[in-house]
């Protein structure tokens, strides 16, 4: 039984959150991880997530929204199932980050911040993801792909289409 009745989360995630709020000196510290993990499961930090997380950490929904809107990884509207994040910051730019972005746009048939009609992919130009020495780099959900070429990128996208993508513990 979760500490929150009628939780919108799976029993596993609810249990994880029950514990998460207890490990910090103050409950509120659990908020950002909680929102991120909730988003991973629900697909977005929607109104229901906001309500329940507010309840869990004991703050107002306004405060939760203030926090959500600050962090780039949190989003209130769902992305595609696989969110392709292309870094175009300086190190990646020098090694073709923008060209990679264009390539992805063309392959997926969508523009920046759009989602494919089947809901499988969404595309976003992102800031530095900390893979500068292995540029150009892309993250699909949380998985890193680096030293990319258009061919490699095609293979990556293909792996998500056919389900053979690397699933090492990340979404």
């Amino acid at each position: 039984m979760s500490a929150v009745a009628n939780t919108i989360f799976s029993p596993e995630l609810a249990a994880r959150f029950d514990k998460l709020v207890t490990i910090y000196p103050v409950r509120r510290s659990a908020l950002i991880p909680m929102l991120l993990y909730a988003q991973d499961e629900i697909g977005a930090v929607n109104d229901a997530v906001v309500s329940e997380c507010a309840l869990r950490v004991g703050i107002s929904e306004l405060e939760v929204r203030n926090v959500i809107s600050y962090y780039s990884l949190l989003h209130t509207k769902p992305h595609g199932r696989f969110h392709v994040q292309v870094c175009t910051n300086i190190s990646c730019m020098l090694r073709g980050g923008y060209e990679m972005l264009d390539h992805c746009k063309e392959r997926l048939g969508i523009d920046n911040k759009e989602t494919t009609a089947d809901g499988l992919f969404s595309l976003e130009e992102v800031e530095c993801i900390g893979a500068c020495c292995w540029a150009p780099a892309v993250q699909v959900n949380y998985a890193f792909y680096d030293n990319l070429t258009p061919e490699k990128m095609d293979a990556v996208l293909e792996s998500y289409k056919d389900g053979s993508y690397k699933k090492d513990g990340v979404k």
Binding site: E61, E63, R65, N66
Partner: protein, 776 residues
């Protein structure tokens, strides 16, 4: 803390260690500009306007976050600093709409002032400004996003100041935006403090926006007519077709007893004055229907009938009911009129606190009454009953600020879980009928009532307090107040405040709108000086309000004179019981009481006249004439005129000099307020302003001379300060007295009968009703 010495712009200054540089400079007359800094709210260092150069520091420093230190050398206006400020303003103006000509804040805008001062007139950008539509967040709050400079004052005012936390900041960087808690609307106490705090025109008032320009108004600081706290509200007044219209209420100069604070009623609920149902012509009943007549006819009719009834049945056949919202001078005059002209002690008002028992219990310990100001400085406060957040918003503000800024200790005992328990060091829920027993418990009787375990700690901590301020609601009356005061006096230096409901509830009681007590709680049976001043004063206590209606029902009340009160609705009086009583009502509206009257006289409200009022803490303040309405007259004038029509020489009521027709002629229209200024001038020159029978200042003199406790500094009063009145000395035990306290139980959004005529309060109440109710 010890003082430190430092130098600012070459001036040697001293200030207590720890003082913020910006405050130390302001105290010395050196103004350092700032958008985000707001005294008493948390520090932000966000606007970077207050940057100064401090020797030995590598960068410019923010004066709002830098405490003064010994030997510090500061420059506040150098080319470098001016450039820093200028570039900050340039950045703000880059996207700030230059709609100043229509912006509400135009002329009162801190960004405008700073731009003027630092001259950021060039435009370096060709990019278009980001436009966003204005949003309405509540009936009283509008948000114009592009104008917002993100100083975060509103957020802190709402959160730290009001403990409402309805505003936040969302997004980040240049997308940052102030956001309301309801996503597209505000769910809050509608106090409008966010608007007051806003340095620009980003937050605007639902009552005022786009109505006029600040310089087209006269700004009159007077006392709010609603609750018993007596806040200063600054009314913006503009000429209109039939007088001068109040278009805005705010807390512009923050010089009042309420400091920074003003609630929804003080800010927006002036609009009853402009209500379409407002009466502006006298009416008399003819053939069962009220018919508009001239003042001449109405006064003549009323005066003659009252005189006839008095002469035929004696003063005992006449009752008088006064108001909680008329001035002290009017209340004083009304009871003097009743007692000398009508020759009756049948006078009362709607009582909302048992001030009589309070005065009796304190027995002349006038050093033990608290001013409203004390509530913001007392190191410890015990709050018994009441819900100040709803009923005394300024008190609630003071308590919150005191706890936040001075770490005051608040103790709350209440039968309801009131909001102020959030600030309490200790709070305890007591049974609704347990208020009296709770005092016995505090006084040491463990068996007085069953309380939770925490009560022992509550009592232990409380009884250790050496400077306790005890604030109690109308839950305490009669003997309970005596017990409470007795307990309080057992603690060193304890002070007291009794909470009553309306702007002049205390004044009505102090001025003797009571059947058994004269002004200053002097018993009618032992009238002292009044016996000689008041010719023919009856010495038997009269009928109280309830007894008057009983007498009317029994056919024994020939006449009833009601001034600014609505007892028929408040006390549920059946109109049939009044059919044999001649009723004269002075009111702004055709209330339930006015509707059964034989004569209805339209009157000016508290914002349309001068005089003084006394808040529930005993602080006396002057009210000033702000608005005006063609056709209406003040209660003061009408009482004098009625006396005149009854054949009484008004000089016996009001000590004036130049004769009945000698209206000073300066109390209306564009010259409104002139009489007040004239009075100030006269006083400053040691001359008593007795210029007209309708000038209440003559009565103010008489009050100061005759009413115990009201002999206060007149100059101070006229200068606009609040002056603490003193309690009279011991008053004798009064035999089988009924307290007759009938609390109004107003909320933040109601204000007795008057509140019903505020469109804004009604709109706010509607917006706060849950949407589902329709389906029920």
């Amino acid at each position: 803390m010890a003082d430190v010495s430092f130098t600012v712009d070459g001036k040697k200054l001293t200030a207590p260690a720890g003082t913020l540089l910006i405050e130390a400079c302001r105290a010395a007359g050196i103004e350092i500009p700032a958008f985000c800094y707001y005294p008493g709210l948390s520090l932000q260092a966000a606007c970077r306007m207050c940057v100064v150069r401090i020797e030995k520091m590598p960068k410019l420093q923010t004066a709002c976050t830098t405490p003064v230190a010994e030997g510090m050398i500061v420059a506040t206006e150098t080319p470098e600093i001016a450039q820093a400020r200028k570039s900050t303003i340039e950045l703000l103006l880059g996207n700030h709409p230059l709609d100043c000509p229509v912006c509400d804040a135009g002329g009162e805008c801190e960004l405008q002032d700073m731009t003027f001062k630092y001259g950021a007139a060039e435009s370096n950008y060709t990019e278009i400004k980001q436009h966003r539509e204005e949003q309405q967040w509540s009936p009283v709050v509008f948000f114009d996003r592009p104008r917002c400079i993100l100083c975060y004052r509103c957020i802190r005012m709402c959160g730290e100041g009001m403990d409402v936390w309805a505003l936040g900041v969302q997004n980040r960087g240049v997308s940052s935006v102030i956001a309301p808690n309801g996503q597209d609307h505000l769910d809050c106490e509608e106090c409008g403090m966010c608007i007051d705090a806003c340095p620009v025109g980003a937050l605007t008032s639902g009552t005022y926006r786009y109505k006029t320009r600040p310089w087209e108004m006269n700004h009159v600081a007077t006392v709010c007519t609603h609750c018993g706290d007596g806040c200063t509200t600054t009314l913006g007044v503009r000429r209109s077709d039939d007088g001068s219209e109040i278009v805005r209420g705010d807390n512009r100069d923050k010089s009042g007893i309420n400091g920074d604070f003003l609630c929804i009623k003080g800010r927006y609920a002036f609009d009853f004055a402009n209500h379409e149902d407002r009466l502006s012509k006298p009416m008399i009943r003819e053939n069962g229907r009220l018919k508009e007549v001239s003042w001449e006819v109405a006064l003549d009719f009323a005066g003659k009938r009252l005189r006839t009834i008095r002469d035929a049945h004696g003063g005992k056949a006449i009752g008088v009911i006064g108001s909680n919202r008329t001035t002290n001078e009017e209340n004083y005059l009304l009871q003097k009129f009743a007692r000398t002209v009508l020759q009756t002690n049948n006078i009362d008002h709607h009582r909302t606190a048992d001030y009589v028992s309070f005065v009796r219990a304190l027995a002349g310990r006038s050093d033990r009454t608290a001013s409203l100001r004390d509530t913001s400085t007392a190191p410890a406060i015990l709050l018994l009953g009441n819900d100040p957040t709803e009923q005394h918003p300024a008190l609630a503000w003071n308590i919150r600020s005191n706890v936040r800024l001075n770490k005051a200790r608040l103790y709350v005992a209440n039968s309801n879980p009131i909001k102020l328990t959030r600030q309490a060091k200790a709070s305890i829920e007591i049974p609704q009928d347990g208020y009296a027993a709770f005092i016995s418990y505090l006084a040491g009787d463990n068996n007085a009532l069953t309380l939770p375990e925490a009560a022992a700690d509550f009592r232990a901590a409380l009884t250790k307090e050496e400077n306790l301020l005890i604030v109690f609601g109308s839950e305490y009356r009669g003997r309970d107040i005596e017990a409470l005061v007795k307990f309080g006096l057992s603690l060193p230096n304890a002070k007291f405040a009794a909470l009553g409901d309306y702007v002049n509830s205390r004044g009505a009681s102090d001025m003797g709108l009571l059947p058994d007590l004269l002004p200053g709680y002097v018993p009618v049976a032992n009238a002292g000086q009044f016996a000689t001043e008041y010719a023919g004063l009856p010495t038997e206590p009269g009928l109280d309000l309830v007894e008057m209606f009983d007498a009317a029902a029994a056919g024994n009340l020939g006449a009833l004179y009601v001034v600014g009160s609505n007892p028929v609705a408040r006390y549920g009086v059946h109109p049939d019981t009044l059919k044999n009583t001649f009723i004269v009502v002075q009111d702004m509206f055709l209330t339930e009481t006015a509707a059964v009257a034989d004569v209805v006289l339209p009157i000016a409200n508290l914002y349309e006249k001068a005089g003084s009022v006394t808040n529930t803490y005993g602080d006396q303040q002057m009210v000033k004439k702000a608005g005006d309405r063609a056709g209406v007259r003040t209660d003061f004038e009408l009482i004098v005129r009625l006396a005149d029509r009854m054949g009484y020489n008004p000089q016996g009521l009001v000590p004036f000099g130049k004769g009945l027709r000698a209206d000073s002629g300066q109390s209306r229209g564009a010259q409104s307020g002139e009489a007040d200024r004239h009075a100030v001038w006269l006083t400053a020159h040691d001359v008593e302003p007795k210029v007209s029978p309708f000038n209440p200042f003559a009565t103010l003199d008489e009050i100061a001379r005759l009413v115990p406790g009201y002999g206060v500094s007149r100059l101070n009063l006229l200068a606009g300060n609040d002056v603490a009145t003193k309690l009279p000395t011991a008053i004798p035990e009064l035999a089988t007295r009924k307290d007759l306290v009938f609390p109004s139980v107003d909320t933040l959004f109601t204000s007795g009968t008057l509140g019903r005529y505020s469109a804004k309060l009604n709109e706010v109440m509607e917006s706060h009703e849950p949407a589902e109710t329709a389906a029920d």
